[in-house]
């Protein structure tokens, strides 16, 4: 009985985190972007500094008519938002937040599971782009595919470097093996992982697939109401997952300068929040990369860097053995 309760509590916690963290991040993005651009951002909804703006948005989205274009592939079009969103929920369950058993579920092949499931999210955008029967959506979908193919590889290689350092694929296991000097040791891999993750999420400066000035909103052009909201939620959930993963793999997760026992989850959340801030910051400060520049960056910069990181990890690891 207590086992069932335990699992239920863990699943509920993961689900609540999945619903709440992206909203917090969304509101933060409104405000951080506003202040970086010298304006106020939403100020009315909810009274205090527009804290309820996203709730107001949700109400608006829920009331909007759901339009499926006459020419679209109806079933696929309707299912695409779910495919884009659900993988992020599944990934959250294996991310450890504190020491001991403060994790949704121990998965032995954690890194592997995470990378595999994250790839499915992109499939949602592809489905949307193809099923819309819209030229702009199709272009957006194809660009998404190009981005996935360019950036999955550096991400994979950078993650492999951490797995080599720790000698395990399990995320809690990696944190057990972590020492502070891993941060400078794996820093190149960390940067590659984070950059590649941004590109996979189609966040600026890698937002070519949704470039509004040329292809309207890419694969999501034809979406309205609730389904559009789910795509937006997927984007923010993706940022949360990417930042949490970078934290766990490269920044030591729940390890902190002090108080690792009681403050573990606080450190994890703090590092994740800091990375999320950087994601928003990058959106405000960098112009969009062109599609060929994107590919070139991945193949001529990130992949060689990731390979070099693997070599470095291998040599150091064997030497210190």
């Amino acid at each position: 009985m207590s086992d069932i309760l335990d699992v239920a509590v863990r699943l509920a916690a993961v689900f609540v985190a999945f619903l709440v963290l992206p909203l917090v991040l969304g509101q933060t993005e409104h405000k951080v972007m506003a202040h970086m651009q010298g304006r106020l951002g939403p100020m009315y909804a909810g009274g205090f500094h527009g804290w309820a703006q996203l709730m107001a948005d949700a109400v608006k989205f829920a009331q909007k008519e759901d339009i499926v274009p006459a020419g679209a592939d109806r079933r696929i079009f309707q299912l695409a938002p779910a495919v884009a969103l659900l993988p992020y929920l599944l990934v959250l369950v294996v991310i450890p937040i504190g020491p001991g058993n403060a994790v949704g579920e121990f998965i032995d092949a954690g890194i592997f599971f995470v990378l595999a499931v994250l790839g499915i999210g992109v499939l949602g955008s592809l489905m949307a782009g193809w099923a819309s029967a819209n030229k702009f959506s199709l272009l957006g979908g194809l660009r998404t595919a190009a981005q996935l193919m360019a950036y999955e590889l550096p991400m994979l290689l950078a993650a492999a470097s951490v797995a080599m350092a720790a000698g395990t694929l399990s995320l809690p296991g990696i944190l057990e093996a972590f020492h502070w000097w891993w941060v400078p040791w794996q820093i190149v891999g960390g940067l590659v992982f984070f950059t590649a993750g941004l590109a996979e999420l189609q966040r600026p400066p890698f937002d070519m697939p949704v470039a509004d000035s040329e292809i309207i909103f890419g694969a999501y052009t034809e979406y309205t109401g609730l389904r559009f909201a789910l795509f937006l939620l997927a984007e923010f959930a993706g940022i949360v997952v990417l930042c949490a993963l970078t934290t766990v793999l490269f920044l030591g997760g729940w390890h902190g300068p002090f108080g690792a026992d009681g403050l573990g989850p606080v450190w994890t959340l703090l590092k994740t929040a800091l990375l999320a801030f950087v994601v928003i910051w990058l959106r405000v400060s960098y112009p969009r990369l062109r599609e060929d520049q994107l590919q070139k960056l991945a193949w001529t910069v990130l992949i060689p860097l990731a390979l070099a990181q693997i070599a470095l990890t291998g040599v150091v690891k064997v030497v210190i053995q």
Partner: protein, 133 residues
């Protein structure tokens, strides 16, 4: 000594975790289903032919949406498949390469492996595959 039944139990424990993942997937599907049904109950449905028209900057769409387009990155796609399949093999290796008894030999093997990948990448680079025009 591990017995056969112990091995079976080990394997069963190993896959136990995925039952929770499966449960969470069910929770997620339920969430989506509830959201879609609730959305259907809440929103208005007043379709008109104009609304259902494909949106292309406000002009009536010309031709089919599934238009022909040149996928310029198909060579990248091949590259990706080759490299990704290679890299998958890094993971099982990564968990054991520094274990006692492996040491230097596996390190040399790793450099050979990386050498293959690097030469492949250099070849593609020299061939001009990574230029996009």
């Amino acid at each position: 000594m591990r017995t056969a039944s112990a091995d079976v139990r080990l394997a069963a424990d190993y896959f136990d975790g995925y039952a929770t993942v499966g449960l969470l997937a069910v929770v997620g599907v339920l969430f989506i289903a509830v959201a879609f049904v609730a959305g259907r109950l809440l929103r208005p449905v007043v379709p008109t032919p104009e609304k259902l028209l494909t949106y292309e900057c406000g002009v009536d769409p010309v031709g089919e949406g599934w238009a022909h387009t040149q996928v310029r990155y198909y060579v990248y796609a091949f590259l990706y498949v080759i490299f990704a399949v290679d890299s998958i093999f890094l993971f099982p290796w990564a968990t054991v390469f520094a274990a006692p008894g492996f040491g230097g030999a596996t390190l040399v093997e790793m450099f050979i492996f990386l050498g293959f990948l690097a030469v492949g990448l250099l070849y593609a680079w020299k061939k001009g595959v990574l230029e996009w025009t």
